[in-house]
Assembly symmetry: C2
Homo-oligomer: 203 residues x 2
């Protein structure tokens, strides 16, 4: 088994934090995104969509998509349960995981890719107006998340889950996208400090 | 239990096709998207993100996000298994489900929302350049999917799964986005006819 990693990029980091929470070690092969290693012929043969991470199983099967890789490890190593417990709890974790992806990580990524000078050759064409359109949506969702986190410790309930991993990484991704959590959102800040203080956050 | 539905809109339809494949009937309450029913105060109290569908459980819990709702029913009614079987198969289903969402359903939705005159009051501001940027990406992904479907019957393997539901609805959504599957993509067309001929496709 081998994990194709992409350093500090948000998606590979989701998988590494997840593995750290599970206490799982997997052999890693670095794909150098700065040198466009994910667009090489060798890596395109692994993932035709040219994205990291990817997991190669011992039988040669390739699993891409961060959450698909995380779910694979959840099945092999169920504890601690990071995708929820019973049907209701698992549905709430999946709901929050997806809300964070569609209303925070995704939009922040769009802002970064469509406005940051470093992304000019990666995102062709850059559409600055799309970055502009997403900024207020991100700020609105941060407000919603703050109100939710005023009522409980973690994003999907009283237990730490994969939704907290995606949420932490999405909030960390605000900085390269040149955004920040407003000071007034105290519950969101409290939660972000909490999850960032876990040893897994260094992964 | 009650499902807040939105008629023929793609996301509510994903859940209804899924339920039809499972043979599950759930009481339905229509939310009239044409009359902006999803933006009403009553519905905003159910889903602050103002999206359909939403599932209300008997204890009052609200589950939003189509796939979270589908996973909830998969746990209650495991057969037929639409999210895969063992760890490897489930990971491949999740991988394809997400590839279809991020590279087809999502981009087609962005094209529709940012270019269709009917969406002018729903998507503010419309960014036509973002629609333009996504058209070639959608066509490229359709080509990739066609090559994959030349090797097997369904998107994630030899069994029909939730990835086929999302895929069928994404392809159906090309039309309102003023796109079409090129004639040359024979395997994709064969698969689309196959999945569209299932009784569940009428849901």
């Amino acid at each position: 088994m081998k994990l194709f990693d992409g350093g500090r990029a948000p998606n590979p980091r989701r998988v590494k934090v997840f593995l750290a929470e599970k206490g799982i070690t997997v052999p890693i092969e670095q794909v150098d995104l700065g040198k466009l290693g994910h667009k090489s012929a060798a890596y395109t043969a692994i993932n035709p969509l040219q994205r990291v991470p990817a997991l190669e199983l011992n039988d040669g099967t390739i699993i891409t998509e961060s959450i698909a890789i995380c779910r694979y490890f959840e099945r092999l190593h169920p504890e601690p349960q990071l995708f929820g417990t019973d049907a209701r709890d698992a549905a709430l974790v999946e709901m929050w995981e997806r809300r964070i992806e569609f209303h925070l990580l995704g939009p922040v990524s769009h802002i970064f890719r469509n406005s940051h000078p470093a992304m000019k050759e990666m995102e062709v064409p850059q559409v600055p107006a799309w970055a502009d359109a997403n900024r207020p949506r991100v700020m609105e969702f941060l407000g919603l998340l703050d109100r939710e986190l005023a009522t409980r410790r973690y994003i999907a309930g009283e237990r730490y889950t994969v939704a907290d991993i995606t949420g932490m990484i999405a909030v960390d991704f605000l900085k390269p996208a040149k955004l920040a959590v407003p000071e007034a959102l105290g519950s969101l800040k409290r939660w972000h400090e909490d999850v960032s203080s876990r040893p897994s956050a260094k992964a």
